[in-house]
């Protein structure tokens, strides 16, 4: 029974959400908030791999999100939608349902490759110098996009909505909600497996004492490469979903402010706590929506709340503990692998 | 009585590190605290010098009196400036990005007695001639023993007349260790410096000090003159390896 708790819960929640959305019991606005929650969970917890578990300070995470968003958007419009620039779709649009997960995986790969931009310098550099490299990488990615006119440059890129419509034409379902749900679960699963294996714990060893890690046979360069690419790849997945949920992207939605959001989620939740990141992502998305009526004052209130919170819990909500560390009884009810 | 510790209980976070210790140090004395690692020796010194959290502990109960006055409300820099108590901390904590000379000069930050400062420079350089040889060098590049000398020299330069030394022999080669203790002895005999010493090497410490206290997991379990302690069977068994 313990082994089945989590899969059952996941499937149950899935069916519930899709059912509610299908019969219009939850409106589109709520649906979009739910989807952003999922995207933020991927975005925040993927940064936690590098900033929390490995203890580096990457602050250009949105750059990789941008790579994922653009690569996936271009591909899905190219293959499945009629577009001004790209012309007629290369494949019949009804194949979009099968094509989309592949496109997301390609977005993962592309963003992971972009991650090399910071992974390679990380061999020689640490700490604050690396932080700067990540900021520079973020700017470089965004400026590159701005300077490519074929994909809209500073005006942005759109057309993804028609791909979604194509999916809905085949089977009428809330497709984006489904995709976001699936990829969120997959990402959490992957991160969990990674950081709980002896292999993955190598990055925690790098965090706590890199010299000792290297001397005790951890190939630190390889581990850094894996961690950075894994992390930025997942940011790419978040980007791909983000682009298709919104239906429109422009380079400035992936600026340093977006990276800051990821940082906030990681440090709000607690460095090196997966459940912390998830909790923080949910809380943060919720807070953003709650304070929406305040408009610009929202961006005064949220930082202020965070500063105040940090004064009381300077290690984030969860510290570096997981939910099951704080409530050991939970372990009786589930096993999560 | 110069320094009097009364029933001191301190905590790090929620963990009590000292469970009510009391001891005294008189003017011109050398007193040593011996005990295993984690017995609370460093904690005691950090409490006296009022090192603030997170490195420093919180005083829970008891008092520290200096010449009869409680010093618990003092800031760490005031302990140095006003009471003339200086600590050469465990692990040296020299400023590696400054030169040897700058390290010493920095220790005179709050002092205005220019003539005495010049005398103290001479004293430090006489006690530790190696420091004079390397005064222009970035102190990071000194060897471990030289850094230890610098840490002690710096404590002297604060104008202190009461030195707290936390494991000055840590990591020193035998020859340097003897040199260091000779210099300290001279400081005590010629300059009348009061010294409270923590040392892992119990034999060395007891040969050097007048009196000693044995600390075990946050409590004082034994005290007496150095000779008494050296001959005590418990000390022999637990700390002298005999």
């Amino acid at each position: 029974m313990r082994k089945l708790t989590v899969p059952l819960l996941v499937i149950g929640l899935f069916a519930l959400l899709i059912g509610l959305a299908y019969y219009d019991k939850i409106d589109l606005y709520t649906q979009s908030v739910l989807m952003f929650m999922g995207i933020n969970i991927i975005f925040g917890s993927s940064l936690n791999i590098v900033n929390g578990y490995m203890g580096e300070f990457s602050c250009g995470h949105a750059g990789f999100m941008a790579v994922g968003a653009y690569v996936s958007s271009i591909l899905s419009v190219l293959f499945f939608a009629q577009d001004r620039v790209f012309g007629a779709p290369l494949l019949p649009p009804q194949y979009a349902i099968y094509g989309f997960p592949i496109i997301v995986i390609i977005a993962f790969i592309a963003a992971a490759l972009a991650g090399l931009l910071v992974a390679l310098p990380s061999f020689k550099t640490r700490g604050d110098y690396l932080a700067i490299i990540t900021i520079a990488a973020n700017y470089i990615i965004i400026s590159t996009i701005i300077n490519i006119d074929a994909i809209g440059g500073p005006r942005g890129f759109m057309g993804m909505k028609s791909v979604i419509f194509a999916m809905e034409d085949v089977v009428y379902l809330p497709w984006m909600l489904i995709w976001v749900y699936i990829f969120t679960i997959l990402s959490i699963w992957a991160i969990y497996r990674f950081v709980n294996s002896t292999y993955g714990k190598g990055i925690v060893a790098i965090h706590q004492d890199e010299v000792a890690a290297e001397i005790m046979s951890v190939n630190t360069n390889k581990m850094k490469l894996v961690a950075f690419m894994f992390s930025s790849g997942l940011a790419g997945v978040a980007g791909a979903l983000f682009a298709h949920v919104l239906g429109y992207i422009n380079p400035n939605s992936f600026n340093i402010l977006k990276s800051t959001e990821a940082l906030v989620m990681v440090y709000l939740g607690g460095m090196g706590s997966l459940s912390g990141s998830i909790l923080a992502a949910i809380l943060f998305t919720f807070l953003l929506e709650l304070l929406r009526p305040l408009q610009i004052i929202k961006w005064v209130v949220i930082p202020l709340l965070l500063i105040i919170l940090m004064q009381f819990r300077p290690e984030g909500i969860m510290g570096n503990k997981e939910l099951s560390d704080i409530f050991p009884r939970l372990k009786k009810f589930y096993q999560f692998k | 009585m110069l320094l009097e510790i009364k029933n001191l209980k301190v905590k790090y976070g929620n963990i009590e590190a000292l469970h009510g210790i009391s001891f005294t140090v008189d003017q011109g004395e050398i007193v040593t605290l011996i005990g295993a690692n984690g017995a609370g020796k460093t904690t005691t010194l950090n409490t006296i010098t009022r090192v603030p959290p997170p490195e420093g502990p919180k005083v829970w109960e008891g008092d520290i009196l200096y010449k009869g006055q409680s010093i618990l409300s003092m800031e760490p820099h005031e302990v140095v400036q006003k009471l003339k108590i200086a600590l050469a901390p465990e692990g040296r904590h020299i400023f590696g990005n400054l030169s040897v000379e700058e390290n010493l000069k920095l220790a005179t930050y709050a002092r205005t007695d220019e003539a005495k400062i010049q005398e103290d420079y001479k004293l430090v350089y006489r006690l530790f001639p190696r420091l004079y040889e390397r005064r222009k060098q970035r102190s990071e590049s000194l060897s471990g023993g030289e850094q230890q000398m610098l840490a002690v020299g710096r404590a002297i330069m604060t104008g202190a007349n009461f030195l707290l030394l936390d494991e000055p022999s840590m990591g020193l080669a035998p020859l340097l260790m003897y040199e260091m203790f000779k210099a300290l002895k001279e400081l005590n005999q010629k300059e009348g410096m009061t010294i409270l010493l923590i040392e892992q090497n119990a034999k060395l410490a007891l040969e050097f000090a007048h009196r000693g206290y044995v600390l075990d997991t946050g409590e004082i379990v034994l005290s007496g003159s150095s000779q008494e302690l050296l001959n005590s069977p418990e000390v022999k068994k637990a700390y002298l390896g005999g």
Binding site: S197 | N37, G171, A173, L175, Y239
Partner: protein, 255 residues
């Protein structure tokens, strides 16, 4: 054939010569000490052997292979393990994890197995866990498996660090000042421990140590260096009487 043969090892930092023309040969199952004043270049030797620095000149031949300039994790997987002057454990994870992560040289599975949780992954994780528990058992540390090292007394932390080094099945164990920060009673215990390890694991041990009791009790051979140059070599008795060593290192023993 000698286990480790170092020939003409020389190291410059900037313009400074930290070590010049260092030679030593260690046979299998030997216990040798390297002593010398602070800043004599002892730790530099260890850092060169374990791969932290690439030597400016010279050869380090281990088991017939020149390992000079190899990355540390590579050197470790070839069979050289070490401990550090100031203990370098991963303090925020359990003692067990500390030992398990040291098995990175021989994980037996890759990223694919990790994400898909293949049979191979489980088998290897089980093997690693068993192996780690065994070494803790042997070293009498089993009861601390779930503790964090920072909560253990200093003497035990030393022991855990040595256990971690042993868990990579080294042929050569480098101990950098194992007695630093230990009191006399702990030192006595440490001597017993090292002696036991030496007999039990049948490995070569090479140590840097200031406390003469340790060196004299354990080592068959001692090499003394100063300013990166060898000044004496011999048995403990010879070294203790050597006037050059007394002048540069041992001192006259008075305060």
């Amino acid at each position: 054939m000698a286990l480790l043969e170092i020939k003409g090892l020389t190291q410059y930092f900037g313009g400074l010569c930290a070590l010049s023309d260092f030679n030593i040969t260690l046979e299998e199952q030997e216990m040798v000490a390297l002593i010398g004043p602070n800043g004599a270049g002892k730790t530099t030797v260890f850092n060169l052997v374990s791969g932290f620095y690439t030597p400016s000149k010279g050869e380090i031949i281990f088991n017939g292979q020149n390992i000079a300039g190899l990355k540390p994790h590579k050197v470790t997987s070839l069979g050289i393990a070490r401990t550090f002057q100031n203990i370098r454990l991963w303090h925020e994870m359990s003692v067990l994890d500390n030992i398990k992560i040291a098995q990175h040289y021989n994980l037996g599975y890759g990223l694919k197995d990790l994400f898909l949780r293949t049979k191979r992954y489980f088998l290897n994780e089980q093997r690693i866990e068993k192996e780690a528990l065994r070494i803790l058992e042997v070293m009498n540390l089993r009861e601390y498996a779930q503790e964090r090292p920072s909560n253990l007394p200093y003497g035990l932390q030393r022991k855990v660090e040595i256990a971690r080094a042993l868990s990579v099945h080294p042929k050569l164990l480098l101990l950098d000042e194992p007695a630093a920060g230990l009191n006399s009673a702990d030192v006595k215990e440490l001597i017993q421990l090292i002696k036991w390890i030496y007999d039990e694991f049948k490995i070569t041990i090479w140590m840097i140590e200031h406390q003469m009791t340790v060196v004299m009790n354990l080592c068959q051979r001692i090499k003394v260096i100063d300013f990166g140059v060898t000044i004496a070599e011999g048995t403990p008795e010879e070294i203790q009487k050597n006037p050059k060593v007394i002048k540069a290192y041992l001192g006259d023993g008075t305060i």
